[in-house]
Symmetry: C2
């Protein structure tokens, strides 16, 4: 195992202390350049380590992937992930060794070094996995309570099932895009409560949702329930996730079968998948669960992760305003509980599946994870640095989410997930 | 175009008048034998025509797929479907020509004939597509009304949005299996209305849902809405679909985000995809829609299809009882309306996607498409031929759904979708 929080571990690559990608992190992603085509890579400081190039130089020859270099030339990490956890760990361990300050193997081989390292500014990042299935959970008690207060009954905001079940729904996998992809404002049916009939047109309540998602690392057979104690073995790593939402479309359509077109026009993921191994030092206990969950959801030990999250809006031609600061540790239901619940009925997992947390809101007004909550459904407009204000998102707005864990001088960052709103089609 | 209802068209293969697969049908599927491996095929009478073998004999040489014989050796039809509608149609047209009574090309080439035709009884049918995305609609007004009466308010059974929106939700794609696959009774949380807390265990209200699904034939870019007039061009064909449902799990979990584990333990499809071309003669007008749908859902012409459907239960070791006879023509919202709605927000389509109708119930007590409705939530047990009765499904029960269209002596059948309930895991 890599000692992720070992501050003595450092690389021969010059890395800023503010970088999201020190040698303790080493997240996986997929990138493209005109010369190289599509490659799997690992982020290190301002660089990407090209895993295909590394394999071609023989640095992985003693690992059990030597017959499968193609997994590093695919448009997604699915094939690589399918090789299994021992392999991901062996590759990450080898990358860590190659990048250590005292290892000359790559450092002193100028040709290999220049072939294996590319500046991040020179690559195009791709969606890191091809998600076969996508579930969106609803695991922040603060968010569920806020939404319940606004849309249902303020006195009974949390529904009776919420403290028993990690509530979730199936989302649309096809429209998951990588950070940097523009988001087209959706058209759809909306109906004001006092209107006689619905109308069709551009959403007037376009929103983001600040989420973290985990990527499935291991498939199961139909009928197999993953015991909660083993659930984390099925997780490859984590990304930031923006579950764009059209509140007016959603509130008209969602009864009784849940969100549909209010969500499926697009969801954005950050390009780098941060491994659970890198996040291990940031494990913290989750909130106390009352009542105690049923046995299949009962977990011991620290199940949450202390990851700082923020959301910023930048209007077209304007400057950025950070509008929310939250933390992944606030989640009421843990990832392990989500995964155990997902499979408790025998539902099968596939490699590359994406399981999103649901909006991560804290308990303070500046830690809310959606415009819906920050502006209380548009009733309290949010001031931005340029003097404008927002009830919901406007065309041209760029929403950027960032996340990092930090402790003992080590920062494990996620980079960002960002998207700009384009006007609706006519 | 094939004259699908041309009764003068007949094959040199001897086909029973009761067969689902006359030469007018020619549905596509994927099969496997120990000798051949995995192959794409077309059903004809009691046989499967092996499309890979046909291509190896050069019968497709003048079509534009000669460089891609591999599409007929894959584990799904996705690659074949991706070649586009003109290609599916050209292949089906060529198959029709080869099988015509007056064409000696295959008929009189004994070696080729024996290589290209396999008895259906000797093959294993596979899931015909790898569905990237699965939507389940809720398009039968009788079903939605019945469910609303049982679970919500009998006086206002139909929710306000129902007549404006083809309501649907994203389903789980990973657990879609082919007919003949056993279905494991799911475990899950259930809570009786008068219970203080939920418990976890085997579902006590296991149900089927009689549905028809269409398979996506053409991908779209994110942001592109398919106009309703073009919607059918995006459909490859239709299958029977059993949306197995655990009513006790579903009713406890579904508020506010919709069905989740009450559905995702398994859904079954019939192996043969019947093309819209084969079904063209069975087009009929749908029910009158009141109020008139919004412009993007407004359709002219006959948008429904007259397809007889039935459901039968066979207890372990017992005989079969047909418990429901319904018809696909009852659908309030048409497939074209569903597809136009799905893409109206810019949600992208992928080839092989599966779009299910929702339970197809008629207006009479013997035409209801689920046990929930047939037994009115278990309050009116259903008698079976063997003297037993059912509130919901028991372990060992086999549920079989069949479908066919018939007119002018031509029967276009779907075969069947069948599944047997296994006891829950301990």
């Amino acid at each position: 195992m890599l000692a992720a929080n070992n501050p003595d571990l450092h690389s021969w690559i010059d890395i800023s202390p503010l970088s999201d990608f020190p040698i303790q992190n080493l997240p996986f992603g997929v990138f493209e350049t005109p010369e190289r085509g599509t490659r799997a890579g690992v982020a290190i400081g301002d660089y990407v380590l090209d895993l295909y190039a590394v394999s071609q130089y023989g640095f992985f020859d003693d690992l059990d992937i030597t017959n499968q270099p193609k997994v590093f030339r695919r448009r997604s990490l699915n094939s690589f992930i399918r090789l299994g956890r021992p392999t991901w760990r062996a590759v990450r361990q080898r990358v860590s060794e190659l990048l250590r300050h005292d290892n000359p193997a790559l450092r002193d081989n100028e040709e290999a070094m220049h072939t294996c390292l590319v500046r991040q500014s020179e690559v195009q990042m791709l969606r890191p996995v091809r998600p076969g299935n996508y579930t969106d959970f609803y695991s922040s008690i603060e968010h569920a309570t806020n939404v319940g207060m606004m849309f249902r009954d303020p006195a009974n905001a949390l529904l009776p099932n919420w403290r028993h079940i990690p509530i979730g729904y199936h989302g649309r996998a096809s429209s998951i895009v990588v950070s940097g992809t523009d988001i087209r404002r959706p058209n759809g049916q909306r109906k004001a409560p006092d209107a006689a009939a619905p109308t069709f047109g551009p959403s007037q309540q376009l929103d983001f949702e600040l989420e973290v998602a985990f990527i499935g690392g291991r498939a199961t057979q139909l009928g197999h329930a993953v015991p909660i104690q083993q659930a984390e073995d099925y997780i490859f790593g984590l990304v930031l996730f923006n579950d764009w939402s059209a509140r007016d479309i959603q509130s008209w359509e969602y009864v009784p079968l849940g969100p549909f077109l209010g969500k499926s026009f697009g969801s954005s993921v950050s390009p780098w998948i941060v491994t659970l191994d890198a996040l291990e030092p940031f494990r913290v206990p989750g909130p106390e669960q009352e009542p105690e969950p049923l046995l299949y959801l009962r977990q011991t030990g620290a199940a949450n992760f202390d990851i700082n999250l923020e959301v910023a809006i930048e209007p077209a031609g304007g400057s950025e305003t950070v509008i929310s600061r939250s933390n992944f540790k606030y989640m009421y239901w843990s990832m392990a509980q989500q995964l155990a619940h997902q499979t408790s009925n025998g539902c099968n997992l596939q490699v590359g599946d994406l399981y999103a947390s649901g909006t991560i809101s804290g308990s303070t007004p500046d830690s809310l994870g959606s415009m819906l909550e920050l502006t209380w459904r548009g009733t309290r407009p949010l001031p931005l640095a340029d003097g404008s204000e927002r009830k919901f998102l406007l065309d041209g707005d760029t929403v950027t989410m960032r996340g990092f864990a930090e402790k003992d001088g080590i920062r494990i960052g996620f980079g960002e997930v960002s998207g700009t709103i384009l006007p609706a089609n006519q």
